[in-house]
């Protein structure tokens, strides 16, 4: 199976609150000096791709989009985990692009990579959380689409996927080629790379494509219909009241407060 996995590098979402800041000029999170990680669910998507490759064979290509030099660690980790090769689209803008813009660039990159059976990405990015890239890629690539996939099975040549739904799960049969966005599950916890593979990752091919070279991605003509006006931290007015004493005292205080609030 030819699988392409889209990986986004984001500032660690579990950054302590004191290190979280918005840059008013870019209207995005300040990245300078903050640790970068692969977006949470993109790692699950990569793990799903690798498990599928382990089972049925094939090739996994990691695809990233971002300023060059920054994407380095994400690519190295993806290759160390088992991806066969990587394509890094160099985006000098940095990180201001909205989902629709990113989807356009990724579509062009995927077309240039060539054939694929599956494109996998995380169900949502850990930072901007739009949940649009997967479905937009499916439309642009005329591929089948399922989002929030937790498990994939290949049975008798057909692709069976489990989608997380409000009421439980849906089991779907999917025709290839398909774009699937992946959510976390006990079966797809990302593997730790073996140290041997961290070393051999160095030898795996990494192509760097300047974004401007990808056709159909000039962003001047076709601006997205939506503009970010500002990004603000909501007012946090409540300060936590810590109930003192041992468990008995704390519980007594809590139940009293809950009664006062008419919750008990």
């Amino acid at each position: 199976m030819e699988i392409i996995v889209c990986l986004k590098q984001v500032v660690d979402p579990e950054l302590p609150a004191r290190d979280f800041a918005i840059d008013p000029a870019t209207r995005r999170q300040v990245r300078e000096g903050r640790p970068l990680v692969i977006s949470t669910y993109d790692e699950n998507a990569l793990e799903v791709a690798l498990q599928l490759k382990d089972r049925v064979g094939g090739k996994v290509t990691a695809l990233t989009l971002g300023p060059q030099g920054v994407a380095g660690d994400a690519i190295r980790l993806a290759l160390a985990m088992g991806a066969d090769e990587a394509v890094a689209v160099d985006d000098p803008h940095g990180v201001g692009l909205l989902g629709v813009e990113k989807a356009r660039v990724l579509t062009a990159a995927i077309r240039r990579i060539g054939r694929f059976d599956l494109v996998l990405c995380g169900c949502e990015s850990a930072d901007w959380v739009e949940r649009v890239v997967g479905p937009l890629l499916a439309e642009a690539l005329a591929a089948a689409c399922v989002t929030f996939v937790s498990r994939i099975e290949l049975r008798n040549g057909a692709l069976l996927v489990r989608r997380m739904a409000d009421e439980g799960f849906h089991q779907l049969e999917v025709r290839l080629p398909a774009v699937l966005s992946v959510t976390s599950d006990e079966t797809n916890r990302p593997r730790l790379p073996k140290v041997k593979d961290i070393m051999t990752a160095r030898r795996k091919p990494v192509q760097v494509w300047p974004m401007a070279d990808l056709s159909g991605t000039s962003l001047d003509g076709d601006a997205p219909g939506v503009e970010v006006r500002d990004v603000a931290l909501p007012e946090r007015t409540a300060r936590c009241e810590f109930l003192p004493g041992d468990a008995a005292a704390q519980v007594a205080a809590l139940t009293q407060r809950l009664r006062d609030l008419k919750l008990l």
Partner: protein, 381 residues
């Protein structure tokens, strides 16, 4: 001079840190309170490739350098010094001498199993009457019917209970001291080798420390490791790497102590404020951080020299000396900083205190390290 870790080193360090946090840290206290061999952790470590870090790819290893080994050992020890003791013996005291002094056949026969975690290895040097004066050892090996027959008693053997392969130092020549010693690869399945007393220890409890008894133990001739009579150099070369591994262990313990102190000092309030506001605590933390960093740089430098094939005996001794004394000092300071809670097993610092002590003793006591360093400067008698 570049003080940066390269991409691979950073990724290896991050990977092992995550592994340690997920699989070792949650059970570290339990492994100390109810000691048992952490078989599942060692198996996972083997799967990641942590048991033969510097073993070349052709034998199943990752072919990493000594600096990578130091990074890995520190991360493991940060979570559990006991678990790390098992891993460092495998790497530095078993795989390393086989790599350096083994024949192609010996490497082929033993390294893949050790790297893969199928076999655990141990190092048998110390005897009841030969501790710091290791080269006065009395275990003897006689040539008989085309084999070697070993008789003697080895003590304080880490991994000895679980190991399938033992590197045993025995006297083969009728001369005293290092020049009469040879090294042997002894499989537990050979006739005449058995595990004797299993020791109960102050710390690093999940790693076994046992007596190995050799009673006319028959070892095939091809299991001589290195040249006959050259066991001394094997032991010493091995100890250089072993000491760097222990220095890394000490760094991990010391860092654990520091991190716990930092967390505690932010949370513990007395006299109306978090204790981190008090100068005594601030100075303690500053001292800990500085001394740990100094020890770390000594350790990295020793590993760097060894990787370049340069002489590093004195530098390895310095690293081990400073790191182990720092770990003991930091752990002691940490218990004090925690006050009453530092004395209680529910908090990890008392374990660090007990674990740290061994780093000042094994693989050459601090006294021996000082001897090695002074000889390097002042020359031998």
């Amino acid at each position: 001079m570049d003080f940066e870790l390269n991409e691979e080193h950073r990724l290896i360090q991050a990977t092992v840190r995550e592994f340690a946090a997920k699989e070792i840290l949650p059970v570290a206290a339990e492994l100390d309170h109810n000691p048992r061999y952490p078989a599942e952790i060692i198996a996972s470590a083997a799967a990641l490739g942590l048991l033969g870090l510097t073993v070349p790819e052709e034998y199943g290893g990752a072919g990493l350098d000594g600096l990578a080994n130091v990074l890995v050992q520190e991360e493991l020890a940060r979570a559990s010094a006991g678990v790390q003791a098992i891993v460092t013996v495998q790497n530095s005291l078993v795989c390393d001498p086989i790599l350096r002094f083994g024949t192609a056949e010996q490497k082929r026969r033993y390294l893949p199993r050790l790297v893969g975690g199928e076999w655990l290895g141990c190092y048998c040097l110390t005897e009841p009457a030969a501790g710091s004066d290791a080269m006065s050892l009395r275990t003897r090996a006689e040539r008989r019917n085309g084999e070697w027959v070993l008789t003697g008693q080895k003590i304080f053997v880490t991994n000895g209970l679980e190991a399938q392969l033992c590197i045993v130092y025995a006297r083969t020549e009728p001369v005293p001291g290092a020049r009469g010693i040879s090294a042997f690869l002894v499989e537990k399945s050979f006739p005449g080798i058995s595990v004797g007393k299993v020791e109960k220890k102050l710390g690093i409890k999940c790693s076994s420390t046992v007596e190995i008894v050799l009673a006319d133990c028959r070892v095939p001739a091809e299991n001589l490791l290195g040249a006959r009579g050259r066991g001394g150099p094997v032991a010493l070369a091995t100890l250089d790497g072993g000491r760097i591994g222990i220095a890394a262990q000490a760094l991990g313990i010391a860092r654990a102590a520091l991190e716990e102190c930092v967390a505690y000092a932010s949370l513990r309030e007395q006299f109306g404020q978090p204790i981190k506001e008090f100068q005594a605590i601030q100075w303690a933390v500053a001292d800990m951080a500085t001394r740990i960093d100094a020890a770390r740089l000594l350790t990295y430098r020793a590993a760097w020299l060894r990787d370049r094939g340069e002489r590093c005996t004195a530098e390895a001794a310095m690293a081990k000396l400073v790191a182990s004394e720092t770990a003991m000092w930091a752990a002691h300071r940490a218990v004090q900083l925690f006050g009453g809670y530092g004395y209680i097993q529910e908090y990890p610092v008392e374990r660090f205190f007990r674990d740290a002590k061994i780093t000042e003793i094994y693989e050459g006591t601090s006294e021996v390290q000082r001897l090695v360093i002074s000889r390097h400067i002042l020359g031998r008698r």
